[in-house]
């Protein structure tokens, strides 16, 4: 029996250098090799700013990875060894306030108060009372009830722990983490050992050059994280129903396989999915979902490894359940398409029904910049009026809302000019006028209407010429659809009432 795999589409242009789990971009440039398959998860943890726990054997680069990340991101970093740390190391020396009514802590470069990222190494080796204190640090970003204002990232690392200590290959003193603490880590990641590395990663790791060099962000790691975080917060505000349904289904199926996820963990799984989606430009990819599910279990921290077969089956069933009716899958494929004119063609030609068409319009408008939204709506809205496009009323209403202010523009533009200098024109108007001077006929009139709207609303436009080309392609897509539709209508003898 052959298994049909959901179609994987091309990577969107904006993220073309990074495909989930297959083409890492950032970690090798900061000297971290062998983490190719989990780079997406590490970036997702940076995007959510939720706690991350790495589990791995000694010398697998856990600490190196996390310290390098903080260097590359330019963070005020603290690295504590949980097996050696005393509480005073964390908070500083306490001294009473002059009024003797409260206590302050004497800060040192090692205290946690100014930290932006904290790495708690060997977390599985610390005393239970320290674990309790670390709990509030990991969970609430607080120590002794006091909030650590700047703290963004809470990371921890540990050696694998075995429930049955003393077995071969186990780490003496690395105890299972308290379940309540472990459940606070969004991702619990097992890092690869030598035997699991590819040839290239092995060669790079074996090469001692560059050791001790400060990691620098040369590939836009910070930019990726910031853009991802922005998108993530947007998705968190209005999470796609499919991500929620995936989490519910996967958790239920895992529960049926006697692998329990707490309700909090199910919620966390959805957050994790949204973070990975944000890195994928808002798109839901099957491979990213599988990876996210795999590394969202806290059980490894207390020595229980999920059965890979069970996880894989739960993922497959949940993915198929969410996307089985085809509409979600189609919407997902549409979201992968970056060019607005192709989005329009796809909606007009392939939308399975009006409701899905409306969802597609809503999705497109959310993902496009304001200027591109305007171009998209100004082209598609008239087409939905002229012919019955497979877009429901909600979709048409959304298009109308965006298009309405473009149809009539009457605005005052203002700019500053140097006194005593030559008289100037509005700089943006001049830039757009140059593009308009190269256009003729109807195309010129449409472009002018759109450009005036952009000027009136001060919308950002990097390359007006390319933008106008894109708008014209959107118009052409609608025109062709109308022509085909009218030809079809003519040949079948149907006639509109109007």
């Amino acid at each position: 029996m052959t298994e049909t795999k959901p179609k994987q589409r091309a990577v969107p242009a904006r993220h073309s250098k990074r495909t989930s789990g297959t083409a890492p971009r950032h970690l090798p440039t900061i000297g971290v090799y062998g983490y190719d398959n989990v780079e997406t998860i590490i970036l997702a943890a940076l995007v959510t700013e939720d706690p991350l726990l790495l589990i791995g054997k000694a010398g697998t680069g856990k600490t190196y990875l996390l310290n390098s990340l903080s260097e590359a991101l330019g963070l005020e970093h603290r690295h504590y060894n949980a097996s050696l740390i005393s509480f005073d190391d964390l908070v500083g020396f306490p001294y009473p306030e002059p009024d003797n009514r409260s206590v302050r802590y004497l800060e040192t470069p090692a205290t946690v108060w100014q930290a932006e990222s904290v790495l708690v190494d060997e977390i599985s080796r610390c005393k239970p009372e320290h674990q309790n204190r670390l709990f509030s640090l990991v969970h609430e970003r607080r120590i002794q009830g006091i909030r650590i204002g700047k703290l963004r990232y809470r990371w921890a690392a540990m050696n694998p722990c075995d429930v049955d200590q003393g077995v071969a290959d186990s780490y003496e003193g690395s105890l299972p983490l308290d379940q309540a603490l472990a459940d606070r880590f969004a991702f619990v990641l097992e890092v690869p050992d030598w035997g699991e590395l590819g040839d290239d990663a092995r060669r790079r790791i074996a090469d001692p050059r560059g050791e001790g060099v400060i990691s620098e962000d040369t590939t836009g790691l910070r930019e990726t994280v910031e853009a991802g975080r922005e998108k993530y917060l947007e998705l968190l505000h209005a999470p796609p129903e499919s991500a929620i349904r995936y989490s519910i289904t996967a958790a239920t199926l895992l529960g049926e396989g006697e692998f329990r996820l707490s309700p909090r963990r199910v919620r966390q799984l959805t957050r994790n999915l949204l973070a990975v989606m944000a890195l994928d430009g808002g798109v839901q990819r099957e491979e990213s979902f599988r990876l996210t599910l795999t590394w969202s279990f806290p059980h490894r921290a207390w020595g229980i490894r999920p059965d890979p077969g069970l996880v894989s089956a739960a993922h497959k069933a949940a993915w198929d359940h969410v996307f089985k009716d085809g509409a979600e899958l189609w919407l997902n494929e549409l979201a992968l398409e970056r060019r607005p004119d192709r989005k329009i063609r796809k909606i007009l030609a392939e939308s399975p029904d009006e409701d899905t068409g409306s969802l597609a319009v809503n999705q497109d408008l959310r993902h496009l910049s304001p200027a591109r939204q305007a171009a998209y709506a100004l082209a598609l809205y008239p087409a939905t009026l002229e012919g019955h496009a497979p877009i429901g009323r909600e979709g048409v209403a959304e298009l109308a809302e965006v298009a309405e202010p473009i149809l009539e523009v009457n605005a005052q533009l203002r700019w500053q000019e140097r006194l005593g200098g030559a008289s100037t024109d509005h700089p943006e108007l001049s830039r757009l006028s140059k593009v308009l001077s190269q256009r003729r006929g109807n195309r010129l009139h449409r472009a002018r209407q759109l450009f005036y709207h952009i000027l009136a609303h001060d919308l950002a436009l990097d390359e007006p010429d390319a933008f106008e080309e894109e708008f014209n392609r959107c118009v052409a897509a609608c025109r062709e659809w109308l022509r085909r539709r009218n030809n079809g209508k003519g040949s079948s003898g149907k006639k509109g009432k109007g």
Partner: protein, 170 residues
């Protein structure tokens, strides 16, 4: 320091600043005032009015004149009953000239002299406009939409536009 008054005597009434400016016109003099000025220009263009080839044509203007907050819903149902229709959708099917395609709509003011509600076929005319207003959302008219009558909807004045040649090639 030379008093401004004595300067005026020497240089035909010009103030010292004016005199210096005239003497060294290429120097940008900082008088402490703003060194830039704000300029304004207007951009105006419409595809709903005017004579552009991509103009949207105004198909209809609908609106029921009279005082606002008048109970037009009651009047509409009364008219519907008088004309022998069971419900608004049946009337919309039966009345001629009800547009059969979607149209863009925009609010306009309705002159009080538009059909006064008197004269022959005034009831049909009123019902015609009420049916269209009942199918218009804030932004577009949809013939497939059920007629929904509310006083807010019926008290609007709307111009209905068709995109016509907007998407056409030259």
């Amino acid at each position: 320091m030379i008093a401004a008054e004595s300067y005026s005597c020497f240089h035909g009434g010009a103030t010292p600043w004016q005199w210096l400016r005239d003497l060294f016109p290429w120097v940008v003099w900082n008088t402490g005032g703003p060194r830039s000025r704000t300029r304004f220009t207007w951009v105006a263009s419409s595809v709903l009015a005017g004579h552009l080839p991509v103009q949207w044509s105004r198909e209809l203007t609908v609106g029921i004149p009279g005082k606002e907050n008048l109970d037009l819903v009651a009047r509409a149902y009364h008219t519907l009953e008088n004309l022998g229709y069971r419900d608004p959708d049946e009337a919309a099917q039966a009345l001629p000239l009800i547009p059969g395609h979607r149209l863009h709509c925009r609010r306009v003011k309705i002159g009080s002299r538009r059909h006064s509600g008197k004269g022959p076929r005034a009831a049909e005319r009123f019902l015609f406009e009420a049916l269209i207003l009942g199918r218009c959302s804030q932004t577009f008219y949809d013939p497939c939409k059920p007629v929904i009558w509310t006083n807010n909807r019926l008290n609007r004045g709307l111009a209905l536009y068709k995109p016509d040649r907007f998407l056409d090639e030259d």
